[in-house]
Subunit: 480 residues, 4 copies
């Protein structure tokens, strides 16, 4: 293997490395532990100081069952057999041969015998959005998402022996490639220019002549991880005699400082116009003659004064920048994009998501209202799945809105944005719950005036799926 | 019960009445048998000559388990417990009290304890599109659809004791109300005018003062059926002490002669312009002065000649009416709207829909191509789920297209229109299959030139899910 | 010159032929006289029975000053000097050389020295919409429009010696080519097919290989007229040593029976749906299987019955065709498209269009209200410039609306549709005026209840420019 | 008259005050002189340092013929008599009585007797865009526009004795009210709040209760001027026994620093994204939890670091702000909005705008090309009517474009944006012409390579109407 300053390899066999941690329900901790597991034995701190968004990292683990239970080719087969997987929408069959990239999708459902026929004829199979079909992949992505606070997605790639399915290209996301079965030979190339470093959009398929010198190549084996930042060109092919299966986990798509600045600006200018006379004052009579390309070489008092004024206004505009408002806007967008949390059975039993009513007899449900009482101890279900924001209601009055991802679909944007208005009196109670996370707090401790309000407020959040109780919830039988 | 000439009641207890027939796979027959079952002991012929689109029919059967296995309140509970039922989208909770109709939906998922709480507080529950959640309802609707050749939908209504959930109104569909549990008191009213007889659009909620005299009222008990044509105003309430559960099956929404004529006209005029000089000839110089409201009382030669000419052109236009083309257009629209067929396990085993591949080892599927050979005997999966039409391809050339509903979603229009182009040579082979239905024919008998073409053609239809084999299909192991 | 059955030439020198008649104010008569002048000595009756929309007509008159005063190259020059003529919008400079047609327009105003430079370099000059710049051309078109009741437009073509400016093509209008200066050699070709006979849309530029045999060629000299129906291919070039100037007058663009039928149908179907149960009744259960391309060769009772029913409904639909309504719709469209009338000074003096107020002193107009009294005798200004129609107002109530072209712009559609609502009581008074045309009637004779109403109604029409008085109108001095 | 610090009155009778200066062709000087005349004897420097955008100014001149020749009620009458003035579009008739503001417009042409009738009945008449109908008003506005470099518009108000036509309100433009005839009583009120000081949009009609204390009232007499900045509420009524006629000249609509900043920002962010890695780098993992309304009271390192980073990026963004590019964008918009220059006869004779060709005989223009030679001395027609900008052509290549207002219509935006591409080689020649303004320079002195290029370049600008020659241009006779 070539060495280079632009990547880092941890090859030490780590026999003591722990298995994939199962989420325990404290989402912040769960996310961190899972990400630590993903890159270990490489350390978290070092990763973020040396590697992240900087250079590729290879973690060679020599533990072939490292991601056991996550996803295998038998899972892919089961999904094809059981689910409505559609060509183009959920699955692509592709080839890259003699420098030519082709997609072989037909219309409609991707029935398993048909997909396997393509595979046997040398096509790579890409399952898009596997988190919609596989609970472990869903759980992996949803848990990592609590760590990254940016949507985490994934793709599964199955490659028949001795083939390559995709042309060299770069992506617009941070990529974590985890080898699941077989072997795959990877080649990496530096971003081609400063402008293509951490790019905002993915590249076209490159011709080999366009991608420069390979900086690194390696063969991934099961349990190995390869990370590379957006902008790094890559291609990979399976070895003769061995198929390959890997998952690529992706995050941080258009989640940059500039994206925040964009959000910030339009708002800032609107406020500056509204609040600052300097922005509403007329331009000087001669600005069109002292400025402009035509006058860029002129030296004049009015030009330099105008440029100075622009600078001042630029600086001044910063005062009108509502950073918290812009962040909240991005927070809402994140909750719209986000995967819903994947609940364990234990969690299901303690939330409305798993509350099952039985029927006593036709027309007679055994119970109905969920038994939230003053004694019930609750917390929010996931720290980063709920956000309290300020907005305006239909009458342009200030209103507190709560956005959440708890009823999102595993299919991206299949559900509309989920949010509701909160009476201003109740905002502190929700903030209390968020700030006390991961502690469970008794409903009685909520900062609300009456016991009735406390129970009503907790019940309403519980019924929307936002709260989880510490103990299993019993449904309350109720007489008509 | 009031009697009237405007409805028909068959009250004879029919102890020998057969149970709901299970579809046998011959879709035309299955559809007819199921519809016969729905209205028996009232006869099919008499129904269509006396009742259909004319007047209500009450079938009192005194067989409370008549529709056993179709849908019960326990099924509703199970669906709420297990499925992502969303307020507004899939389910409404409503009341009609003191002449006021209200919807009590909240945002998002309709968790079962929440829905039951509404119910216990007197709300009616309407499950929309139950065929998406219940296999028996899906099967019922999809089978009836093969009979009606118009989309068949349904709603489930659960009403707590002593309440009414909906205001009096009329619908734009033919309605078959089948009582499933409990009792419900129905009142029917004649269409209010000729213009509201067989109307194209549903009414608003009426005030009691707007709906005239009740023509009929009855209490439905489990197993009873009430049919009424679109335009008949109706309202219903459960009895004190008894809840009510019924399914309303609906069909023939905007499936009228006028809808066909509309399709026919624009095409006819386009053709007349293209082919008939009489349509392109100039209007007479004086037509604006001999015709028009201003001149409607005038008697003049030019007026009567112009009116005569219009009549002639109207008649002549009929020659340019491509009835088959317009019907095909409606046929394609039907296949877009239609429920997909509900396959039995036996059918699944003989189609690609149930073809399951096993994995020999990671990366090694046990088989792939489906084993269609010259000897395989096949037929189309459902008679009315496939249609061969003439259209034009991207280059405006005449092309044969095949539209089908075999990969539709149980959710209306969730999938795009499914169709593909057929090489002109293959059209007779598909028509042969359609015309031989329900017979299974050997692939060898297809009217195509070579054995290879026959197998390829049959395989391609089989892989799209359009064909079913007479015998269970064995997957063919294949070596790479 | 070749002779052929497909065209007609009147070559007789007609020394007694009258000059271009000046409009006298009776628009129906003025229009007819002007059109007679245009084609004489060929007769009106013979023209419409043998020529119109059938075949070309050449009228050779050997009277070079036949259209004296209409338009000369000096008028074109004056227009370029004085008016805001814009390249592309109002004027094209073009060449057709070696089978290649080119447009040489630049951006913006076509200043006269620039246009003449193109001309001197061999470019043809086409002035579009000359009626907007030349009063005689406006008067010609507006007067003929009263005869054709279809918009009449024109183009002026100036061609330098020995050149051709346009490729062979056909148009979608009836064309009257009147030679004004110099000579031009014309070649005509039959429509290429039945489908291109009286076509609805103009052709592309043809290659000489595409246009078949010339059927006729001739050299037009000043005063000569060449008519040819839409669909006849034509090309023309000036002779060496002589420039050419001609005007092409056009009319009857998409003014065919089919256009009326199109208007008629959508309305008829809407009414049939509303009024006729047969159109709302459901289609037969088996129509999709007995009709459609797939079944077009089948013989079946249900197919023949369905086809018969379609025929019947087609015939029946004719009953719902509101011919007068459709004609009124076209009448309104005509009034939107139409040129405004070109008024003589005498006419101006007797209408609001020419009513000039003087100022007594600053802030003191000498008079204001126009002096319409019971004794004033009035008529509508042009017979075909006003139309009374039935429509519905903002509240969907039946309303009488009056559409007119009296305030249209000479630029096509520059003004919005001009119409106003009429109180139902006043409709007979306006119809009375229209039916009495061209007679002037005293305001006192209007069929309205009171003298006040009569004067108010006549005043309001007079103030909109719709009425003309028999005598010059005196403005009434009025004290504040 | 009340005195107040918020306005300034110059009441000194200035018998020596010069008449309205006639433009001499040097547009920068002409503009300044005309504005000086408008406000004199108040001085220019003092106006811009003390008054402009700050407070009202009353200039009482006691010279009733101060604006002689500009506009009188006889001009209004002439325009109504001769031009196509349309209600709503060009003219409003309004009343304000008993706190109720009404518009009495009817549809279509505003014939003079009708308008005067409204006037005699107490309606105010507002002529919108009088510069389209009156050459002196056009000249006034177009000349002031060269001074303000922002579109200058105007309205004429004619008010019958003892009435008021408009409710109290404020506008979004700087307003110069020049009394032309009669007398009018004005009342002014301060902006109601900081937010309504120099507002971006005009107000609704206010109720008297909403406008606070009058700060100033005065009666304007002919020759008097009242200026007030946007945001100052005003109302005015004529005196019993005296009508009133005034013109309101307006400018500086949305021509503020903020408008420039808006232009600047979007461009700056696009460039920052493209060029600056800091903008493309990912946000910190925890930004959603340290920022946002929910966290605005928290003190944390990550919060303060993020806020600091935002500040830095804000500052840094200024580096990507292309002030010249944004100014050019506004310059182009100004040239699209602007009135075209009003040329004197002398100017017409020296530009293409007045170049008239004569006809020698039919088909024979006397001359064509304009005689621009190396010796011809030229300058641009107006300093601020032409702008050289950088943009990109259809292929995204850098291109020099020239925008100009020389072919604009006197009707706002009636013409499309006028611009053309310039070969890069020619840009210095046009800049040379602009920088030498108002000097006339010989074509021979243009910084271009060959004599042919110089003549061609000058000719092409001359033919577009951009250049004016020092001497009258003779057209060049040319032989075919």
């Amino acid at each position: 293997e070539k060495t280079s300053t632009s990547f880092t390899t941890i090859s030490k066999k780590a026999s003591s490395i722990p298995k994939m941690p199962f989420p325990q329900g404290n989402s912040e901790k769960d996310g961190r532990l899972l990400f630590e597991w993903l890159i270990q034995p490489f350390g978290l701190k070092k990763f973020f100081s040396n590697i992240w968004e900087r250079k590729p990292l290879l973690v060679r683990r020599h533990i072939s069952n490292y991601a056991e239970g996550l996803f295998g080719s038998d899972d892919l087969n089961r999904i094809l057999n059981e689910c409505n997987v559609r060509f183009g929408v959920n699955l692509d069959v592709t080839t890259y041969q003699d420098g030519r990239r082709e997609t072989h999708n037909v219309e409609g459902r991707a029935f398993s015998p048909v997909v396997w026929d393509y595979y046997k004829n040398g096509c790579s199979v890409r399952l898009k959005n596997p988190q919609a079909f596989s609970k472990p992949v869903w759980q992996l992505c949803a848990t990592l998402q609590e760590y990254f606070k940016s949507m985490v997605g994934s793709n599964i790639y199955l490659t028949p022996p001795g083939t390559q399915g995709f042309a060299p290209h770069y992506d617009d996301i941070e990529a974590f490639v985890l080898q699941l079965e077989g072997k795959k030979r990877w080649s990496l190339y530096n971003p081609r220019s400063a402008a293509e470093t951490l790019p905002r959009f993915s590249s076209k398929n490159f011709d080999p002549s366009e991608i420069g010198e390979e900086i690194f190549s390696t063969t991934l084996e099961p349990g190995d991880l390869l990370y590379f930042p957006r902008g790094f060109i890559h291609q990979a092919s399976s070895l003769p005699g061995s198929h390959s299966l890997h998952i690529t986990i992706s995050t941080y798509q258009r989640n940059s400082w500039g994206d925040l600045m964009q959000e910030l600006f339009s708002g800032a200018l609107t406020r500056a116009f509204a609040e600052d006379l300097e922005f509403r004052k007329g331009l000087p009579l001669d600005y069109l003659s002292s400025l402009g390309v035509e006058n860029s070489d002129k030296v004049s008092v009015s030009r330099s004064e105008a440029l100075k004024k622009v600078s001042e206004l630029f600086a001044r505009l910063a005062q009108y920048a509502d950073v918290d408002g812009a962040v909240d806007q991005r927070g809402m967008d994140f909750l719209y994009d986000a995967l819903p949390p994947a609940l364990s059975q234990d969690e299901l039993d303690r939330t409305i998501h798993g509350a099952k009513v039985k029927m006593t007899s036709p027309g007679h449900p055994s119970a109905c209202l969920c038994g939230v009482s003053l004694e019930t101890k609750v917390r929010v279900l996931r720290k980063n799945a709920v956000r309290v924001c300020l907005g305006s209601d239909a009458n342009e009055n200030m209103a507190v809105t709560v956005h959440h991802s708890l009823q999102n679909s595993r299919v991206y944007h299949e559900e509309e944005r989920k949010f509701f208005e909160l009476e201003a009196d109740c905002a502190p109670a929700l903030e209390f719950l968020l700030h006390r996370y991961p502690a469970y707090v008794p409903v009685a401790s909520l900062p609300l005036d009456s016991d009735e309000e406390k129970v009503n407020f907790a019940s309403s959040l519980f019924e929307k799926g936002i709260l989880i109780a510490e103990e299993k919830i019993e449904l309350v039988p109720e007489q008509l």
